[in-house]
Every structure is written in structure tokens, then in C-alpha cells.
């Protein structure tokens, strides 16, 4: 412990520790190493809170607990490397054009936090607000888009239905012919939406949480939760036991497994979600393009690859191997939208796990077990929610009061029959 805090002191004071153009220049000239982004720590015997899952949600929750509420004696347990779950393998779409007013408000707060995140964390997360375009191929999707646009604008979110001409102007590669099987009638355009460097968000939160004294434990797997008289007492891990009154489940695809350790059942099913990238080509696509009817979305990263995603796999699984079927259908659908891309080559496909809920909304807050909190049910859309989820979960854990912003996402809503209707905006859009 002594060495750890010593290190912390050093790293806080060390010149050049802050990232900036100037720091970069100095580092380049002196060729000195940058300080470590985060440190290895010994597992302490007790923490005020143990956060399970070193993805963006766990890390953001830890960061805001430390930063906003002064809770520093907390640990994040990650069975593999930081960001190895959905946070390291998602297609990084950020947007707030959801369907329900609760949803729109919630995601809008997240987008605003993301806009300031680079400065807040002193880590460039490269949030590229290049615009998000959902295509309408039939009247019913146009209708849902109008609905979304209306709710969005009532909530002050920039989102509007555009016609085919404007779609063609934004994305000239699209096949706009009327005789396409999925003709493009228009779209929902959301200028503040975009993509982000997902790994940078993870690393930035981790670095900032570490600097505030949070212990990040990679290679540390939760294996059991001790519940006595309906309250959390501690946890077991592959590296030893920890006593703690608070366990926060931030394990997304593995949420049910962790909740089961506390005896809590969840309305969640784990489905793989696959993605793929092509070889890089010169930049030509600067809008995120989504087609709900075709179950596909495309964006081009700063490196030039096209990133493809789709809807979740058709059956639940904890396997992340991926399927050929996915690549065939995603390629087919991309070419239906942009036929000129047939010579581009798919470079790599991968899969991640998604914790799907019946109403495409998260499950956040308290559970029947005292001290056991959930921040799960993030499905295919949770990356964009990390800042606001971390902020509100931290507030709940620190104050014991559920913030209004997330009151509707409570676990009890299922037993009460109060589902949130986000299916129409979240099924493929991410």
C-alpha cells in the first residue's frame, strides 16, 4: 500500500504527466517515457465498494464516485484486461435520438458529457460528431422516424426527418434508385450523433479513476458474492476475498451470471452481437449510416476502415466466435445500400455479448439484496450511455437516493409491468 500511494503521489506531481501538445513536444524532445496510465495494485482486504466489470460502465461509475462523491476506497474487478468486454469491441456509435422522452433526456445528457469528456479526462477520446443517419425504406419506418424526431425536438435534441434528396447529398454512395428492393424514401438525420474512439474512453476513465485512487484490478475474476440477511457482506475472487458492503454489477453480457451469485434474477438474455471491419480505403463516408429494415449500419473510422454492425445474433450464447452467416448478410445488406463497394474486403469479424432486456432499456439501481446494485441491460446501445450511467449510479451509491433521470429504469418495473418502449429506436440503431 505504501508503495502504491507513493507512486500515486509521484505520478500526480510528475511534470509531463498531463497530456497536451506541449507535453507531447517535450516528451518527443527528451524521449522520456510517459508515466503509466494506471498502476498495478495489491488486492486490499476491504473496500467501500466493489465494482464488478472493467468496462466503460464500471470505470465511469468508479470515476464519478471518486470525483463527484469523494469515495476513493473502491475497486474495479476485471477478469481479463480493461475493456475486454463490450466496451472494447463495440462500434462506438454515440447518439441521443431515442424514442421515449425519458430515453432521449438520458442519452442527451450522456452526449453532453461525452462532448466534454476529452477535457474532463485529459485524454482525447476523439468524439467525431459527424452526424447519424437512419434510412427509411417504407412508410412505417418514416412514421417511427417522425415520431422520434418529434420527441427529440421536444426534448431539445437536434434530429429531423429528411427527404431522399438530402439523404443522397449527405451520402452520395447510396443507391437511390426507386426500383431497389429497399428504396430509400428518406431518413432521420441527427447531426450531433457520431463515433468515438471506444478504447480511448475506456483508457481515459481508467487513467482518471486511477489518479483519484481507485484500484483497478485486471485479471481478477469475481467468483462469489456473500449475502447475509439480505445484504451484501463481501465477495470472493480468484485472487482472494474482499469484504465490502457494496457490489455494483457492471458486467453487461455476464450480468445474469453475477446477479445469480447474489440470488437475484434478471430480465436479461445474453445475445452475441457481431461486427466487422474492412481494409482501409481513403475517407469517403463521413456520416454514420443505419438501415433498420436491412439490419445493418456502416461508418468509416479515422483509419479508413468501414465498420459494419447488425442486429444481435438470432439465438442467445456466451460464445464470441462469430459466424459466417453474419458476414454474408452484412455484406449483402451493405451492397444493397452501396452497390459500388463490392470490391472492398472484409478484414476481420468479431463478436461481443449483449445483455438484452425485453424493452430495450437498461436496468439500473437497487435490487432486493441490500448493497447489490445493477447497471446492466445495456444491450447493443450501452457504450453511449456510460458517462450518464456512471454519473447517476455514483450518485445513487453515494447518496442512497435514486436520481430521477434513472428512476424509470429500475428493476422493479418488470414486476410492476411498467416497461419502457424503446424497441422502435434501439433495435438496430445502437
Amino acid at each position: 500500500m505504501a508503495t502504491a500511494s507513493h507512486q500515486r503521489q509521484r505520478s500526480r506531481r510528475r511534470p509531463g504527466a498531463r497530456f497536451s501538445a506541449f507535453g507531447l513536444l517535450r516528451q518527443g524532445l527528451t524521449r522520456a517515457d510517459w508515466p503509466r496510465v494506471w498502476r498495478h495494485r495489491d488486492l486490499a482486504g476491504s473496500y467501500d465498494a466493489v465494482i464488478v466489470g472493467g468496462g466503460v460502465h464500471g470505470l465511469a461509475t468508479a470515476y464519478y464516485l471518486a470525483k463527484n462523491h469523494g469515495m476513493h476506497n473502491i475497486a474495479v474487478l476485471e477478469k481479463s484486461y480493461l475493456g475486454s468486454g463490450g466496451s472494447g469491441r463495440n462500434t462506438a456509435i454515440i447518439r441521443s435520438n431515442y424514442l421515449t422522452p425519458e430515453g432521449v433526456r438520458f442519452y442527451d445528457r450522456s452526449v453532453r458529457l461525452y462532448e466534454e469528456l476529452a477535457c474532463d479526462l485529459n485524454f482525447n477520446v476523439m468524439f467525431s460528431q459527424r452526424g447519424h443517419l437512419t434510412l427509411a425504406h417504407n412508410d412505417s419506418s418514416l412514421r417511427t422516424m417522425r415520431w422520434r424526431a418529434e420527441v427529440n425536438s421536444l426534448e431539445g435534441v437536434d434530429s429531423r426527418v429528411i427527404d431522399a434528396t438530402e439523404v443522397a447529398r449527405l451520402v452520395p454512395q447510396l443507391d437511390m434508385s426507386e426500383h431497389a428492393h429497399h428504396p430509400i424514401l428518406g431518413g432521420l438525420y441527427h447531426p450531433p450523433g457520431g463515433i468515438i474512439r471506444h478504447d480511448a474512453v475506456v483508457w481515459g476513465y481508467a487513467r482518471a479513476a486511477d489518479a483519484l485512487g481507485v484500484h483497478l484490478h485486471q485479471g481478477t475474476e469475481l467468483t462469489g458474492i456473500d449475502v447475509v440477511d439480505g445484504a451484501v457482506r463481501g465477495v470472493q475472487t480468484n485472487r482472494g476475498t474482499i469484504s465490502t458492503p457494496v457490489v455494483v454489477n457492471c458486467t453487461a453480457g455476464w450480468a445474469s451470471v453475477i446477479a445469480d451469485m447474489a440470488g437475484v434474477g434478471l430480465p436479461i438474455t445474453t445475445f452475441p452481437l457481431q461486427a466487422a471491419v474492412t481494409e482501409p480505403v481513403r475517407p469517403f463516408l463521413d456520416t454514420v449510416v443505419v438501415s433498420g429494415s436491412l439490419h445493418v449500419y456502416v461508418s468509416q473510422t479515422a483509419r479508413g476502415e468501414l465498420v459494419f454492425g447488425a442486429a444481435v445474433d438470432p439465438f442467445p450464447s456466451y460464445s464470441m466466435r462469430g459466424s459466417l452467416q453474419f458476414t454474408e448478410s452484412v455484406a449483402g445488406h451493405v451492397l444493397e445500400l452501396m452497390p459500388a463497394l463490392s470490391q472492398l474486403r472484409m478484414l476481420r469479424q468479431w463478436a461481443g455479448l449483449c445483455d438484452m432486456t425485453p424493452d430495450f432499456s437498461p436496468v439500473m439501481g437497487i435490487t432486493p439484496v441490500d448493497g447489490f446494485y445493477v447497471d446492466v441491460g445495456w444491450g447493443t446501445y450501452g457504450f453511449k450511455a456510460a458517462p450518464v450511467a456512471g454519473e447517476t449510479m455514483a450518485e445513487l451509491i453515494a447518496t442512497g437516493k435514486t436520481p430521477d433521470m434513472i428512476a424509470g429504469f429500475d428493476l422493479a418495473r418488470f414486476a410492476d409491468g411498467r416497461l419502457v418502449g424503446e424497441r422502435g429506436a434501439a433495435a438496430v440503431g445502437h
Binding site: S256, P267, P316, S323, G417
Partner: protein, 87 residues
Amino acid sequence: MLISCPLCGPRDATEFRYVDERRQRPDPEQASPQQWRDYLYVRANPSGPARELWLHRSGCRQYLFVDRHTLTNEVQTAALARTEGTR
């Protein structure tokens, strides 16, 4: 992934539709809201052996009870739902 349909033989998973976990419908007259909504929404979602209901959609159109490992996707057994346990 292959599923051995008891009628058609082994076929690719894309021919089938995953329906749900295999579960018991509570008596609708007796069920409390909590029980009924557990049935509607809460899932075991195991990482490991799972008992599931599938439909051989592009084949014989029969519902199957499938025992599958959700980490390896290996199917242990697939039985006709309509006769399982009756013979």
C-alpha cells in the same frame, strides 16, 4: 452450429428459430403478478448448459426441446416437443 433435428437430421442453425428458454407457464388463474411477470420477463440466461425451445422453421416446422451449451454452442439433444415425455 448444427442441430440434429429428430425428423430431418443434422441441419445448420440458420434453419431454426430460437424461441425461448424452456419454461413452465404458471396457472393464469392462480398466478400473482410477480409470478406471471417472472414468467414473462425473467430468464435464467445460463452460461453453460441450457434447456431451450426451438422451431425447425425451414425444415419440418416442428418445435424442439433443445439442450445446448451456451459457451460452446454444442447441442446435446434435440427432441420433438410434441412427443417428448409421452413415449
